[in-house]
């Protein structure tokens, strides 16, 4: 993270000039009180991802703005933060600002244990709350039980993500299939492919592909209060209700009709993506985190994305969040860092690098796919259509859902048994919250 020396010198000169002016006018300058401090930043986005590119730029700008501060960056992995985040935050080696895994089981646990700084006042002072739609900011709010969605703001997302249907335009044209707008239309489209001997959906049942498809199907029969009850524990949840039963039953039926391969339960997410990018599958139900890889990976055909047909609600949320550990000794610098991640220029860079920005100027996002994704996300966030992810409510829920879905798809579990299996970890955790 070295800045070319001439730029650094220019920055120093500028900072000195600014400090001098501020000193004359009687204000404390940014270079003054922080000089000689060490500021530590961690994140786990890979360097080539949109978020990695945007964060690296923030770090560069931050260093230029605080020439007296020694900036230390450490690349982490998602699993490190997911599994030992609280232990790190509780130790003396916590950084000043870091990217943290969103969700009740991770950030919620850290927040309720008093390990994170309450950012509510800073957010309103710096206008962050104006930049993010409430349903995007939800991933940063945790109540005293550690449940997401309400309570003080502990973290700030600077990107978004949502699940939709990726489709191969060339294959749709070749087989004369139109983009469906209803669930029945989607089934007819898939029938048309099956009739031609083409498996319409690439689907990963060994990882999150099946979770998302199942949740989209449940959301097709659900409304906001259903989501709030399930995700935010606002009311009773019946796992044998219409929505959950429809989702499980439809998934089984789709498997039987050959809409996705019987082998899906042994297929991982990367293999699902490869089947789409290689041009053998007309459709993939997955999330915007694949946009960057699709842009570089798809070589021989045109592709696009449409929302899960007929759904007003879809799996999606604000992204992982920037948090300030309680133990941070440079909180003002940390706030400045977070502030830079939400600046329009950085948001535009994130969008143009293949990410979904939360506060970009859509006109400045030039790539067509990125602009479409940013616009869709804005619409979803504005219409309260982000329904988070099915594994969020309880710790360790993701693994249990993957395994139960494998059981459902291989016929080891009936729909009723599956619904009961899914309900158990949820009820266990809900009873602990009371």
């Amino acid at each position: 993270m070295k800045i070319p020396s001439f730029r650094r010198r220019a920055a120093v000169v500028a900072a000195v000039a600014v400090s001098a002016v501020l000193a004359l006018s009687g204000c404390g300058g940014p270079g003054g009180s922080n000089a000689g401090k060490t500021f530590t930043v961690w994140w786990f986005e890979s360097p080539d991802s949109a978020m990695g590119v945007a964060s690296a730029q923030v770090l560069k700008d931050f260093e230029a703005a605080h020439p007296g501060v020694k900036v230390k960056f450490e690349q982490k992995s998602f699993d490190q933060i997911q599994q030992s985040g609280t232990m790190i935050l509780n130790s003396s080696s916590a950084p000043d600002v870091l990217e943290y895994a969103k969700g009740s089981a991770t950030a919620g646990l850290a927040a309720k244990s008093g390990l994170l700084t309450d950012l509510t006042d800073v957010a309103s002072k710096k206008g962050w709350d104006k930049k993010m739609a409430p349903s995007v900011a939800a991933v940063g709010h945790y109540d005293q039980r550690g449940v997401l969605g309400e309570g003080p703001l502990y973290g700030v997302p600077n990107y978004g993500e949502f699940v939709g249907v990726y489709y191969n335009k060339d294959m749709f044209a070749k087989y004369g299939v139109k983009v469906p707008t209803t669930l029945a239309g989607l089934e007819s489209a898939m029938d048309a492919f099956v009739a031609k001997g083409v498996t319409p959906l690439t689907m990963s049942g060994a990882e999150y592909g099946a979770n998302h498809l199942w949740y989209e199907l449940a959301l097709s029969q659900a409304d906001r209060s259903w989501v709030d009850n399930f995700q935010l524990f606002k009311g009773p949840v019946n796992f044998n209700d219409k929505a959950w039963t429809f989702a499980a039953q439809t998934l089984v039926d789709w498997g039987k009709k050959g809409y996705f391969s019987q082998d899906s339960t042994g297929i991982k997410a990367t293999d699902m993506l490869n089947a789409f990018t290689s041009g053998t599958s007309p459709m993939m139900v997955s999330g915007s985190w694949f946009d960057g890889q699709l842009k570089t990976g798809v070589k021989n055909f045109q592709w696009g994305e449409f929302q899960f047909p007929g759904n007003k609600l879809t799996a999606g949320s604000g992204g992982n969040i920037w948090v300030v550990p309680s133990k941070s000794e440079n909180k003002d610098l940390a706030y400045d860092f977070i502030n830079r991640t939400l600046e329009t220029s950085n948001q535009n860079l994130l969008g143009n690098s293949g990410g979904v920005p939360v506060a970009a100027d859509p006109a400045a996002v030039t790539d067509t796919h990125s602009r479409a994704a940013a616009t869709t996300f804005k619409t979803l966030a504005g219409s309260d259509g982000l329904a988070y992810y099915p594994d969020w409510p309880a710790p360790g829920y993701y693994d249990q859902q993957v395994k139960a879905l494998q059981g459902l798809l291989t016929g080891a579990l009936t729909v009723k048994e599956f619904n009961d299996t899914i309900s158990k970890p949820y009820e266990d955790y809900a009873s602990q919250l009371k």
Binding site: Q83, T86, L115, A394, P395, T410, A412
Partner: protein
């Protein structure tokens, strides 16, 4: 001594203490007596993982021991004498290779081999005209455990083989020669001369591999994460899941404590049987 205290004794005692508490890994643990143990006895998932442990003992201790005994006898008795010690060493090294590969590499490698659509195994079956035998090996409960067991056999054979070959190098070759002069067939020699001579090694190998089987974690983690359903869950993975993904440290400690007690009991039984066997 200090090292033993730091690395073994203190964590061991801490783990036992934690098993009587409810703790999320942060904040202060609350004492709940035997609640975790009662919960464990009623937890269907634990019993499934325990039964899978028995499958792991079969595939990591019993089967590899039997296969390795046969291989060791063949390599030293037959290959060694017919083709020279170099070829025998080459085979021994080949069988030992899985033991030195990093487990993550093993996981990725076997993941590719067992992939349903474009996996090596299914492609080979197709090519051999055995398309009917193709399967979604790791993706369905009916075959996942068997597939993992097969990988574990492949993984363990090398270790047992090296132990037995070392044992055979210790034994007196004149015994087998005398037996063959007396007209004993190869199976007779194998069962009545070679196996009795290798008794001490067999005890050691069975004990160490059984303990390894009860503790197995990494191969399960990289191959199936305990799925599909609970088809391949083992106690270590179950404990890890509670520790790290469910933040139920107290309950995770309980599972670890119970497994430790079981392993100690198993080791004691083995040592008893072994000393009895040696008295005979």
């Amino acid at each position: 001594m200090v090292g033993l205290l730091l690395v073994v004794a203190i964590p061991f005692v801490t783990n036992i203490i934690l098993s009587f508490t409810k703790w999320a890994g942060i904040g202060s643990p609350s004492f709940i007596g035997f609640d975790n143990y009662i919960r464990l006895l009623r937890d269907g998932n634990f019993w499934v993982s325990f039964l899978n442990s028995i499958a792991m003992i079969v595939s990591m201790a019993l089967v590899p021991t039997a296969i390795s005994l046969l291989l060791a006898a063949l390599l030293s008795d037959f290959i060694g004498s017919k083709f020279g010690p170099r070829i025998a060493s080459f085979f021994r090294a080949g069988f030992y290779l899985p033991q030195i590969l990093p487990v993550t590499v093993v996981g990725i490698l076997w993941g590719w081999i067992l992939l349903p659509s474009s996996g090596v195994l299914n492609s080979v079956l197709d090519g051999a005209g055995l398309g009917a035998l193709k399967s979604n090996w790791l993706g369905q409960p009916s075959t996942a455990l068997a597939a993992v067991m097969a990988v574990m056999v492949w993984f363990q054979v090398g270790y047992c083989l090296v132990m037995f070959m070392a044992g055979l190098a210790r034994t007196d070759p004149s015994l087998t020669e005398a037996a063959s002069l007396d007209g004993a067939t190869w199976p007779q020699r194998f069962f009545h001369v070679i196996i009795p001579q290798l008794k001490p090694e067999i005890y050691v190998v069975l004990l160490t591999t059984s303990i390894t089987a009860l503790k197995v974690f990494a191969p399960i983690f990289v191959l199936t994460k305990g799925g599909p359903g609970n088809a391949t869950t083992v106690p270590s993975y179950f404990a890890w899941q509670n520790f790290f993904s469910k933040n139920q440290v107290g309950y995770g400690s309980t599972i670890s404590t119970v497994m430790t007690i079981l392993i100690i009991i198993l080791a004691m039984i083995f040592l008893k049987v072994q000393s009895k066997g040696q008295e005979h």
